[in-house]
Symmetry: C3
Subunit: 346 residues, 3 copies
């Protein structure tokens, strides 16, 4: 599928400069683009690639666009966002019509409500009392247990597992291998032996939520685990029982959130972060990669914790000293007193 | 299903105070409970919720029960444990009869032994020479390879994968996405090229073991990987080849244990911990979240390692200094000598 | 299956000493081996086990072999490598003929090319325009989307998921639960709301690559994610969009690599490592367990970062001081000046 530059500008709701009739048939990176393709510059570090690109058009912010007055440009205050819109346009038009219908190998329980425009793939298993909204796509090998409610246009990729009593709002996307609603890790200790505490809550997930691959979201112990609208969760993330994640928060790969912790809205949490249980992270917090968050954080906190990797020799010496830090601090205090005494005495 | 308070007390093997005929039909949290529900207080931090709860009865320790003399109370030395027993009672009675039988879409190999009271779900695949104990439940999409032995009442949730030569004891629970028996990460280096070392051992798991979602337990290289009775393993955990985990040890999410390491019994290992290979952790050890355990630990060790997250500005300065720690220690030593010399001289 | 020691020596391309007619029927560890079995010593720490082994033969380096002149020995400069060859010989001969053919429950799309000597297991789902090389084995429950290309002798274990536009070279092995080609974590922020950036690249994986269980490899955003020949990837690893991993690099469990990062060839990356996005790691680098790599590293770097676990009490004090490190450094500087001044004055 192709479009003229002026059409793409209209689609993205932005202005253009140069030849509005220039025909574009794909998106690409600045360095790889060929004639007929559109690219974008969001990171100034790639400015040199802009100078050498073969792209027929580029998406630029107004300031840089002015410097490239002779080029075909979509002018955007947020080039990466406009690129998202343009790439989505090509994706939608290139994909062709999506299949609908239920594959004969799929197994579906009783009392289900599956609109005709849904797609249910090969070897899918759906339990009883399951309701799907219009336009859902459930791909091969995915399993949905009883009493599950999916909104409109939900897309579950292959080999996803949804336990019972899970709800997932409109436009939800769940990638393969992910498990939603598994039992929380709850055990009472009886003289050294762990006794399972039944995990009877569900999981409630809002609309416009995307969840990556091989991520696990446990059901609540009594109440539900809750993920609000617009949250984005990457791969291999652990969300424990009764966690609450506020709207539009984004969490990168391999982060883990322990039980009953509340995370505010509009947070950005980098990869490999660990957040202990029963604490509260405010809104608009940023947590850096591999940090261990052990206490509640107020709104707008910027927190870091991990030790950046260094040369192994320096690291070895530093780690020996790290255990001696309290002694070192005490020695400094003693030296200060001695100096004071010497200075007074001299 | 409902029960009188006196019946629940008898079931849990504990005393009650107040109206033994009070009818209870569900468990709930202190804050959400309504009339007809029972709750519990295990964490003193929620004492204010107890004062305001609408629950018809609560599970309390004897001291707090005495303070609430007018309330309907189950009196327990371990309220969380008693709650587990009560919640289990409701779960068992509310659930109704579990399905049994083999779904027609399941594929089962030769020389298998599957008792009639087992449940085998849709699109399950079972290899040859597989023996299941009485009352096993194998849910949709799960795959069991050849030569697997499951004890009685084993529950494999959907989309679990069990490789060949795995045994799992009575009452085992395995959550979705989990893989047991995959090849250990064993390669010999041949002038820069990695040559696979065949992983020919199995996995032996005791009774009453629960394993969370998307966890991986590798088979042994030659001997078996071993997990003893009563071990509880959370989500997204890596157990490498030839690891040994002693009975009743509990391990929280995203922890990784490298090859040939032995972990004692009754340990509690928090989330995100890394334990290097070929070491021995004693019994009754506690390892705090995200610690890297690089050496063997004696019994009853309490070990920590991760740097708790702090304000990004403080962290930046501290990390610069961390690389200078050895220099700082040497400067302190030099200052001490200078002071000594000055003191002697003065 | 059994073989004489001389035959095994010939197979492994090494010399032997002792009784070349000694019959060997299995491999085992030094401590567990019985008559008829062969073992190996690669780690001097297990030398005492060599002295007490019941193995009929052992694989030793020339120096140790000379010390055990009366034993039946395969003499190897790299005993672990030779063990890999011998164990492979027994594995190949013990296994018997592998099944071939397509299970009737498998679902296969249009325009696929599947050679007759491939094995397609129960409930496998294969999309359209999929090409398999000779001798591929696709086990039960695995899902392959459209436009996937597998080389010869590729082995996908059960419940693997391969998204569209993935290529995997000859002899590739992928363990269960792993997901290849899922969407990268790419979102543009539109006044607080995350807008999905379509992930339109694929994944290109070379030959002789092994990928562990429950690992996730995202497709590229525009270009492909690339993994070169001979790379070995363990369990629960995250490889983000547009990562490049050079040939023969090995990566241990639970490591995460953020987007657009390039990793050189012949690197060894330990478990639980985090590598930030958009950096370059050179060739022959070694990164120690749980390190956070936040900057590019030149060739042959040896980098560490994690704090090794210590007694909780020492750790508590050290962590308090860690936040005071910059103050401590400034105090030392001040003391140095005061001493200098005192020394000059005295």
């Amino acid at each position: 599928m192709s479009a003229r530059l002026s059409e793409l500008a209209e689609h993205a709701g932005i202005d253009f400069q140069g030849d509005g009739d220039c025909v574009i048939d794909a998106v690409n990176t600045l360095s790889d683009a060929v004639a007929g393709e559109i690219s974008f510059l969001a990171n100034p570090k790639y400015l040199s690639q802009l100078q050498n690109t073969n792209a027929s058009a580029v998406i630029l912010d107004p300031q840089i666009a002015a410097e490239f007055a002779s080029a075909n440009v979509l002018i955007s205050e947020n080039p990466y966002l406009s690129f998202a819109h343009i790439a989505k346009w090509f994706e939608d038009h290139d994909r062709g019509e999506l299949p609908i219908g239920i594959h004969p190998s799929a197994v579906i329980g009783s009392e289900c409500n599956i609109p005709d425009n849904c797609f249910i793939g090969a070897n899918v298993s759906i339990g009883s009392y399951v309701t799907l909204g219009s336009g859902c796509r459930i791909e091969a090998g995915t399993v949905i247990a009883d009493h599950v409610l999916l909104g409109e246009n939900v897309h579950l990729y292959s080999n996803v597992t949804i336990y019972s009593h899970v709800t997932l709002g409109d436009n939800g996307i769940v990638h393969s291998g992910t498990v939603i609603g598994s039992d929380g890790f709850g055990f009472a200790n009886d003289k050294g032996v762990w006794i399972k505490v039944p995990q009877r809550g569900g999981v409630r997930i809002g609309r416009d939520v995307e969840i990556g691959a091989c991520t696990t979201i446990d059901c609540g112990a009594i109440n539900d685990t809750i993920i609000e609208d617009g949250v984005k969760i990457d791969n291999l993330i652990q969300v424990a029982h009764n966690v609450f994640i506020g709207k539009n928060t984004a969490i990168a790969g391999q982060t883990g959130i322990a039980g009953s912790t509340t995370i505010g809205s509009h947070c950005t949490i980098a990869g490999g972060v660990g957040i202990v249980g029963h604490i509260e992270i405010g809104d608009y917090c940023h947590i850096a990669g591999m940090a261990l968050v052990s206490k509640s954080l107020p709104d707008k906190s910027v927190a870091s914790g991990a030790v950046p990797a260094m040369d192994h020799g320096i690291w070895s010496k530093s780690m020996v000293r790290l255990r001696q830090l309290d002694d070192m601090a005490k020695k400094i205090r003693k030296l200060e007193k001695q100096i004071e005494s010497l200075s007074n005495g001299s």
